[in-house]
Symmetry: C2
Subunit: 151 residues, 2 copies
DNA sequence: TGTGAAATTGATAATTATTATCAAAATGTG
DNA sequence: CACATTTTGATAATAATTATCAATTTCACA
């Protein structure tokens, strides 16, 4: 019962350790973006005795291997989330500039892909840049903060 | 000869100081994203005696006032760049995942606006989120790093 | 199935970017 | 031009992340 992601470890000449398994499991279960500290806490809750340095090291490794995406919401921490290969599961982020809340969205996926493919082709032609992934961040006001501003 | 951005200071009840003037000048002259440390160095080069804390405070203030945009390329620092009101001057970033180089681009702007306006409307309907700005980051390999990978 | 070279880990020190503190200096309104 | 308020500088404090290195674990191969 080899997991589908294990071949990535072979490819990168990395070893499959219980900690690495557990970290991937956390992301599969939580299905949301997590900071290093949050991953560390969730591992502890699972009785997985692990050092914080190992968490940082492995989040970095998993990002380099393409299993995780690193995202940043401007609050001083880095966050990580599962890379989804299915186009329907790819998502982006709405960040409230007032309260800092982050909402995931995955709307307009077909249209988005079409648009981004065209854009990527142009970027490749003009800048010789080979695109592997992209992230879109929207900044604005969430529902709650709009109400507060009006009153 | 009041600068166009000075009315923003009135609106936010903030004072126009020589340091703040100088910081805005730096961004106008350099016309690229800069870290706090870089702004600090450039001010020093201009004989503008200023403390690093003041630089951080003012970069934050100018972002809140909408004169600067805060951007993040995943290297542990925050960067800032001029907010351009003309649609033709709006740009995004290509980040090389190998060498960390960042390339600005401002392609396909008309098409992009059309696409993003539609998207923003949908996000407003579904999540009640009011969009103020957006950023698109492309991750991949720059021209140089593609050559290195092949060899 | 056991062995050993190489990779991984844990504890913690070090580093780096950013924020807080607070007295002194500067701003601009009346 | 005086004064209430804001801004600044020097530096201490904080927070996230990375480096170090000896001990432990993994896995290819015998």
């Amino acid at each position: 019962m080899r997991k589908t992601w294990e071949k990535q470890f072979d490819y990168f000449n990395k070893r499959v350790t219980p900690h690495r398994r557990a970290i991937i499991e956390i992301f599969e279960e939580e299905n949301r973006h997590l900071s290093a500290e949050e991953v560390y806490m969730l591992l502890k809750k699972k009785e997985e005795k692990v050092g914080i340095a190992t968490v940082y090291r492995n989040l970095d490794l998993l990002s380099q291997m393409g299993l995780l995406h690193r995202v940043n919401f401007g609050d001083g921490k880095e966050y990580y989330e599962m890379t989804r290969v299915l186009p329907g599961e790819h998502h982006h982020h709405l960040i409230c500039t007032k309260c800092g809340k982050v909402v995931d969205y995955s709307e307009l996926v077909g249209e988005e892909h079409e648009f981004l493919n065209r854009l990527e082709k142009k970027l490749s032609n003009k800048y010789g840049f080979l695109t592997q992934s992209h992230q879109i961040y929207f900044y604005g006001l969430c529902e709650d903060c709009q109400l507060i501003c009006e009153s």
